[in-house]
């Protein structure tokens, strides 16, 4: 089954933003319901990787009857191969700040937080300057909204929204049980909307141009454009805004080095797609009618034939073992055992069938781990082991 969809470039996110004051004014002259409906009809889904419908998220928080609510911008960009959020905050910070204020207006929040990963501390001076200018304008138009920055301190798991909240509350970044979801009970147990940096930037596009302009991009179930962080064995690494729904074959045609063996879609927590399946794989959210569709936070790492897939998996597993918060046993022990297990097979201490035991372990982790980290280790593990089994053994 071949997907006929072609790679199409888009240019919304990084387009100049001298009109943020107009977009803010235009937005807050509409009712909250109108804005929510606009977002829902755009079919925007979260761009952090999980893909929850953004309009619905805002709606759920707006419906809770509670005087104190919060807006949080998730800038804890830590997925290996992802570097778009920093670029957005550097190039077009006012789009994000405006979107946060509009979200505050819609749900009834007076405080917004940007949770910025510790590795990006160097962004602070410029970002603070932008926030001061933004708040000055909010005062001028009598919009009661304040934006604060909360710094992370080096923990991948804090990109998970409930771990992020725990971290903001001064605790270990250990994910909470869901429900309750943050839209009901988030930061300080108040209704909270947490959106990825890029998601907020897309809401700006939608409020500026209307839902239709956004909806017309992409394909069914995967509307709009998306930033892709392209790295690895490619002659043109960087950040590209593309319409969703393209086939991986077209992507590799554009970004590959002519010798692409496999592409990791969605970072270490995503899937590795081998060359033989490029044509049947589409980049978008689940539910597409043809071919295999992969959700992604936008990390696209290309590997050419000089790369050992064992080394790639070994690197991912070491990453997960270190970044697992340690709270639940399937993830804490599972990541350790997977890493030790593939090394033992490689050294010949375990026979090749042991890989099947490890695959079953990832299935258990998928079912029993508490959060997306432990659940998603199975993605890269099974897609690498199943497609490159011989490289794991010899």
């Amino acid at each position: 089954m071949t997907i006929s969809y072609q790679l199409k470039r888009a240019d919304f996110i990084f387009k100049n933003e001298n009109d943020w004051e107009d977009v803010l004014n235009k937005s807050i002259s509409c009712s909250a319901t109108e804005l929510i409906n606009e977002l829902i009809s755009s079919e925007l889904k979260g761009r952090g990787g999980a893909g929850f419908p953004t309009g619905l998220k805002w709606k759920l928080a707006a419906e809770v009857d509670e005087p104190t609510k919060y807006v949080i911008c998730n800038a804890d960009e830590g997925e290996p191969g992802t570097f778009k959020d920093r670029e957005i905050l550097t190039m077009v910070p006012f789009k994000v700040l405006t979107a946060m204020a509009v979200c505050g207006y819609v749900i009834g929040a007076k405080d917004g937080y940007i949770y910025l990963r510790g590795e990006y501390l160097f962004l602070l001076p410029e970002l603070n300057k932008a926030i001061r200018e933004f708040e000055y304008y909010c005062d001028e138009i009598k919009l009661d909204f304040r934006i604060h920055i909360f710094m992370g301190s080096g923990a991948y798991i804090c990109g998970e929204e409930t771990a992020l909240i725990e971290s903001m509350e001064g605790k270990r970044g250990e994910p909470r049980n869901k429900p309750p979801f943050p839209s009901n009970s988030g930061y300080m147990n108040k209704p909270t909307v947490i959106n990825n940096v890029e998601t907020l930037a897309h809401t700006y596009t939608i409020f500026k141009y209307g839902a239709k302009r956004f909806y017309d991009l992409g394909v069914q179930y995967s509307r709009g454009s998306k930033l892709f962080s392209v790295s690895g064995d490619t002659p043109k690494p960087g950040i590209y805004e593309l319409e969703l729904g393209m086939s991986l074959a077209d992507f590799v045609e554009e970004f590959g080095d002519g010798d692409t063996k496999a592409v990791q879609v969605g970072g270490a927590s995503g899937f590795l797609v081998p060359r033989k399946r490029f044509a049947e794989t589409a980049i978008g959210f689940q539910g597409k009618l043809t071919g295999i569709s992969l959700p992604t936070g936008g990390s696209m790492m290309l590997f050419n034939s000089s790369r050992s897939m064992f080394n790639v998996l070994d690197n991912y597993l070491e990453f997960f073992r270190e970044e697992s918060c340690g709270q639940c046993t399937p993830c804490r022990v599972g990541c350790q055992q997977l890493l030790m297990g593939i090394k033992a097979v490689k050294r010949g201490e375990k026979n090749a069938r042991y890989l099947d035991k490890l695959l079953r372990l990832t299935e258990t982790m998928k079912l029993t781990a508490k959060c997306g980290l432990g659940q998603s280790v199975a993605n890269s593990f099974s897609s690498i082991v199943e497609n490159f089994r011989e490289e794991m053994i010899y």
Binding site: G78, G81, G154, P237
Partner: protein, 154 residues
């Protein structure tokens, strides 16, 4: 008053003494002291009225909150997949050779500490490293030697 106790008191005055102010206070101590000593953690617990074990539990969760004495400049070299593919080990060897320390160690004069870290978000400009809060990308052994020399002259 002990200077660390004074620093902690000032940070608590600035940020507040609630549990949700804990991380900014821990970060403030690390910024000044380069690490969290047992004494610092007990002092923070006292200042905020928290059990010391809670402060310790939070502090040791985060990889940037060091609890071992660190050098003036902390080098954190990214070891995640793309940096690893693009020559991280050669850069690391060049650093080890120049500073005569291994990963996890601090130079005897207390100038540099060398650590590895997970994805810094510069995969398109790999390999990358942080020296304190400053980022350096597209590293080569030659380039990293120049960078460290410039720090030595500071």
């Amino acid at each position: 008053m002990n200077p660390v106790s004074e620093l902690i008191k000032n940070l608590a005055d600035q940020h507040g003494r609630e549990r949700h102010n804990l991380l900014p206070i821990l970060q403030g101590v690390v910024e000044q002291e380069k690490y969290l000593s047992e004494f610092s953690m007990i002092e923070i617990a006292r200042e905020l009225g928290l059990p010391a074990s809670e402060v310790y539990g939070t502090a040791t969760f985060y990889s940037f909150l060091e609890h071992k004495k660190m050098g003036k400049y902390i080098i954190r070299i990214c070891k995640t997949i793309t940096c690893s593919m693009k020559g991280k080990n050669q850069v690391l060897l060049a650093i080890e050779d120049m500073l005569k320390i291994s990963v996890g160690e601090t130079t005897s004069d207390g100038t540099f500490s060398l650590l590895q870290t997970n994805c810094l978000g510069f995969c398109h400009k790999a390999p990358a490293m942080l020296v304190n809060n400053e980022v350096f990308t597209d590293l080569t052994p030659e380039k990293v030697r120049e960078i460290l020399s410039s720090y030595l002259k500071k």
